[in-house]
Subunit: 292 residues, 2 copies
């Protein structure tokens, strides 16, 4: 297993981790400058953060500082209740691919969506199998486009507690079933993002990481599961503060030949987003070196 203790070489910061500083929105341009000052050379930005300062601005900074993107967050949200909704999602996803290409991201991360309407609090129907069919169809269409742009798509299985409103792909096994169906040749164009927060509990995790193999392990995300967890979405822990055996999971991923970045992605309304981003980034670096 790689030694992370001496450098930031394999550290990536998902920019949602410092989306807020002292409770206030922090522009992506400031986040990038703060990362560069700390010799963090890899980031994974969110589309809304990019849009807020402009794609061209971000692209210029990425080139200026020779930054890498471990991923781009995010495409997906495929299921919809109407044909127009499906078409809008498809168009938006193609645009996400274009942006990922402009920023030279390693992959576009897919949070595939759940029951239409559920994220707004009122699901249009309860047929999760149908939503899953729409996800499969949506990825199939997007994959055709993404391949033409040479942008790999990384399906991120989300924790089952998000099955209704955010992603109805909820285990690595299920994500790999989709990969097998849509890219049986393991071309590298379609794979998975393994986020320890979403999959740590899975009794089949090691087995499915082995099944994925190097060609399908496109991204590795870290944070920690707190006990208690006070909010389903925004109470993620800093690595080392929770119960996830992160080094063990990393060892499984690296045993398959994964040599990519370890991307820190923490949503934390009450804790980390209340601190100054300098402290958060410094802590990310320290924990990356000591407990990942």
């Amino acid at each position: 297993m790689r030694d992370f203790s001496q450098s930031n070489d394999w550290l990536s910061v998902n920019t949602a981790t410092v989306r807020k500083s002292r409770g206030q929105d922090l522009p992506l341009t400031d986040i990038i400058e703060a990362c560069v000052r700390r010799d963090i050379q890899v980031i994974s930005p969110w589309r809304d953060q990019v849009a807020a300062v402009g794609l061209n601005t971000v692209s210029r900074l990425v080139k200026k500082y020779n930054l890498k993107l471990s991923g781009y967050c995010r495409g997906g949200m495929f299921p919809a209740a109407t044909v127009a909704g499906i078409q809008a999602a498809d168009a938006d996803n193609r645009q996400a691919v274009d942006e990922a290409c402009e920023l030279n991201a390693n992959c576009l991360v897919l949070v595939v969506g759940g029951l239409p309407g559920a994220l707004a609090g009122q699901a249009v129907h309860k047929n999760i199998a149908h939503a899953r069919d729409q996800v499969l169809e949506g990825i199939e269409k997007l994959l055709f486009y993404a391949k033409s742009c040479h942008m790999p798509l990384a399906i991120e299985p989300l924790h089952p507690m998000y099955a209704a409103d955010r992603a109805c792909i909820n285990t690595l096994e299920q994500a790999l079933d989709v990969c097998d169906q849509l890219d049986p040749g393991q071309s590298g164009a379609l794979g998975v993002a393994v986020d320890v927060y979403h999959v740590w509990w899975d009794p089949k995790l090691q087995q499915q990481i082995e099944r994925a193999g190097q060609s399908r392990l496109l991204a590795f995300h870290v944070c920690d599961w707190l006990t208690p967890t006070r909010d389903l979405l925004n109470d993620r822990g800093m690595m080392g503060d929770g119960v996830i055996d992160i080094p063990k999971i990393r060892s499984w991923v690296e045993a398959q030949g994964f040599q990519g970045f370890s991307e820190v992605e923490i949503f934390s309304t009450e804790n980390w987003w209340q601190k100054d981003h300098s402290e958060v980034l410094d802590t990310c670096i320290a924990r990356h070196r000591s407990v990942v």
Copy 2:
């Protein structure tokens, strides 16, 4: 599929559902009287509620009203950090079997436990595989005793969001693997409790219900998954208020020959526990007849 619309014959009320009335603790004796007044003939009580009024008192009421118990909540919590802790859990679980026998319950429900210390906020270790080994050993020991008392044990796979602190058996597949290992002959002494709240998201749910078959389907619990869910533990919804297609899951269970009760189990600090228990029980009856 059975027609629930005309009677309470297949309705069971898990007494945690009316643990509080208008925010105040409601004694199990009052709960039982309120159920009997509404022609609810089946309950599933919790041990702490039984202990609060006395096992003999509850036993007398059960016999007086000819009540049935769809289950008894709960045994489990097997993992521990010390030999003494393991032994204490084993002794407590044997006592739970004895109480279930005294009340003539259909089964003892097992919430198997997670990482030692996690429920109190500080896990002693992060080795969930070890916790799972301890669960297997604990069930094996308890099964020997429970068989001698003719009390079936129902492993309840809990939603993965409880993997750290409440139960490290998190899918029906995983629970059935334990059943296969400890009771390969499918004697009926060991099976599962299928709670829609915990398993509704699982893409392998139908397949695993079919795998379970009648001999291992010992209990069926209902409530609903709300969007948004505001608390990991105590924000369960009333059937019909969330996104779970309950009739579909019931159809899968009944297709295997399950003819047991449909047990309503709702934990709801901010909503249902704030209402008068009369309204809650009346709503359980109405929803049991209309949307389960």
